[in-house]
């Protein structure tokens, strides 16, 4: 569905995307993970054929965006990072108006709008203006709108940023449904849990480059340990403790507010901490996550 070699995007002196290689297969749910400014959105804009690459090779659905941009866009569903709904049109009209952009007949547009309102759980809101809808509803409407042309490839740029947990879970559930139907999904996110929930495979981006690639599971196995122990110590200087904890687990990271111990057996490592006479104010043993992978790869946390 997507093939990229040495993809570069520059804006003047600034290099947003610095030579990335990608391949996305049909039916796959593929994620770009990285902090703000990593180059995820610029990559998405190139894939959605509104911004042409500065250098490198890019094929979307087997076509060249520079030559066949219009044809490619006709088969994409794009859910942008910022809502682009028409606030002066009602929910239903937002779908039918957009359907017409794809050359879909009025009758067919109405039929698909009903179907998508059902899918997005917005049937009761069909005649409502967009403005009073909640953030989660607007996102669902944006996603429904992106599906109006029955796209082969759906692009979602930070689909759940700024939503409350309940709205995020409902959205994930809807996206999971899409994935089950075999729709190819490409999404960007800076949420670890989102990437773990939705992506079969993902790349970690930092500074315009891909720093790691794989399934969420394999990334955790490669770059982290099965479990992590988080230690907090009130207001004291953490560096003093680091020396005392040396050798517990495979590795440790000192963050501004806590120390992370990477260990195959978290409970065992926590017991060792106490045995050495170190008494943190709180101890949390948890499964390793993509957050730890990212921290290990870039030395920074994702969301500050």
């Amino acid at each position: 569905m997507i093939y990229a070699r040495g993809l570069v995007k520059r804006f003047g002196d600034f290099t947003a995307v610095d030579g990335i290689d990608l391949e996305v297969a049909p039916g796959e749910a593929f994620g770009f993970l990285g902090p703000n400014g990593a180059g995820k959105s610029s990559t998405m804009r190139m894939i959605s054929c509104v911004s042409l690459p500065t250098a490198g090779e890019l094929r979307i659905l087997g076509m060249d965006p520079a030559r066949d941009g219009t044809r490619i866009r006709g088969r994409l569903g794009v859910c942008p990072q910022l809502d682009t709904l028409d606030p002066d049109l009602n929910v239903r009209e937002n779908l039918t108006t957009y359907a017409r952009y794809f050359g879909i007949s009025r009758a067919e547009a109405r039929r698909r709008a009903d179907e998508l309102l059902e899918f997005a759980r917005l049937t009761e809101k069909a005649a409502s203006p967009v403005e009073p809808l909640s953030g989660g509803m607007k996102r669902r409407l944006t996603i429904a709108r992106a599906l109006v042309n029955e796209p082969d490839l759906v692009l979602l740029d930070e689909p759940t940023t700024g939503l409350d947990p309940q709205a995020r879970h409902l959205l994930w559930e809807r996206l999971f449904r899409l994935k089950q139907r075999g729709t190819t999904l490409v999404l960007t996110t800076h949420y670890m849990d989102e990437a773990e929930q939705l992506c079969d495979r993902l790349v970690v981006m930092d500074g315009g480059r891909i720093v790691a690639e794989g399934s969420p599971r394999s990334l955790i196995e490669t770059y982290s340990t099965p479990e992590v122990v988080e230690l907090r110590f009130g207001l004291e200087e953490l560096d003093g403790y680091a020396g005392k904890l040396e050798g517990i687990g495979e590795r440790l990271d000192v963050l501004p507010d806590r120390i992370l111990l990477y260990a195959p057996d978290g409970d065992g490592a926590a017991a060792e901490v106490h045995r050495r006479g170190v008494n943190p104010s709180s101890v949390l043993v948890r499964r390793s996550s993509l957050e730890d992978v990212f921290l290990h790869l870039t030395g920074r946390t994702l969301v500050d």
Binding site: F11, R73, G74, L82, P87, D88, Y101, G103, S105
Partner: protein, 252 residues
């Protein structure tokens, strides 16, 4: 399969269905009030101009200037807002709709709005007995041409600016003087000689000439085709500028 340009036009018409009541007041009632106060009121003191009543003389001018105001006004905040606030252009650009489609659909919408407005206005002025020639039916066409000639460059301008406060400057220093010195309320010859070419540069004056020729059956200052060509040049130049401005904004 509908052309993408038509789909863009449909969006604007769907939006207009919501807002038409408010806009009818501005675009139609206001010029009529103008005619009553200035045409009938001021006209009582002025007497005849160019062999016709002052009211009949300013009808084509007010008609063209109302098209001018409407086309200009519609091309400021609504265009700026579709970039900044609703991001409707970004939404359209993510589909097979291209920048030329976005702009052609928009120009067609402006054309329809201006034409409808001018036709209604023409009907009302006929009741005032202010139309002296059957050619008056052609006046809305001149208004439509003026609408596109004005809307295209202002649309481009709205796509270029980073802050909407520029519109206040546009209205104060471009639109207002254009309306006052384009032969709407008095013949251009009344102006000092050095100001006449400036007034002639405004697309409005050319449309006023065409409209006046149509409603009064009088001759135009330049050959009619030249006035029309001048307006067309503004439309074409503005459109080309708008395509560039929109591309820059949407495709990088």
């Amino acid at each position: 399969m509908a052309h993408p340009t038509v789909a863009v036009l449909e969006r604007h018409l769907t939006l207009y269905r919501r807002l038409w009541r408010a806009s009818v007041f501005g675009s139609f009632v206001l010029p009529v009030l103008f005619l009553l106060s200035i045409g009938v009121g001021v006209g009582g003191y002025v007497g005849d101009v160019g062999g016709v009543s002052y009211l009949a003389w300013i009808v084509p001018g007010v008609m063209a200037s109302s098209a001018f105001q409407m086309a200009a006004g519609e091309s400021t905040y609504p265009v700026f807002g579709d970039f900044r606030w609703t991001r409707a252009y970004h939404a359209a650009r993510a589909t097979p709709v291209g920048v030329p489609d976005i702009l052609r659909g928009w120009m067609l919408y402006i054309l329809i709005r201006v034409l409808v407005n001018a036709l209604v206005f023409l009907g009302v002025t006929a009741l005032f007995g202010a139309l002296h020639s059957p050619l008056a039916v052609l006046a809305p066409l001149a208004c439509g041409l003026l609408g596109v000639a004005v809307s295209a460059p202002i649309t481009a301008f709205a796509a270029t600016i980073g802050h909407d406060s520029y519109f206040a400057l546009l209205f104060r220093f471009v639109m207002m003087p254009s309306t006052l010195f384009a032969g709407v309320f008095f013949p251009l010859e009344q102006l000092p000689d050095w100001l006449e070419p400036v007034a002639m540069a405004s697309p409005l004056w050319h449309a006023v000439e065409l409209c006046r020729a149509a409603t009064l059956g009088a001759a135009t200052a330049w050959p009619a085709w030249l006035h029309a060509a001048y307006l067309l040049a503004w439309a074409a130049g503005g459109f080309a500028w708008a395509v560039r401005a929109f591309r820059k904004r949407l495709e990088d």
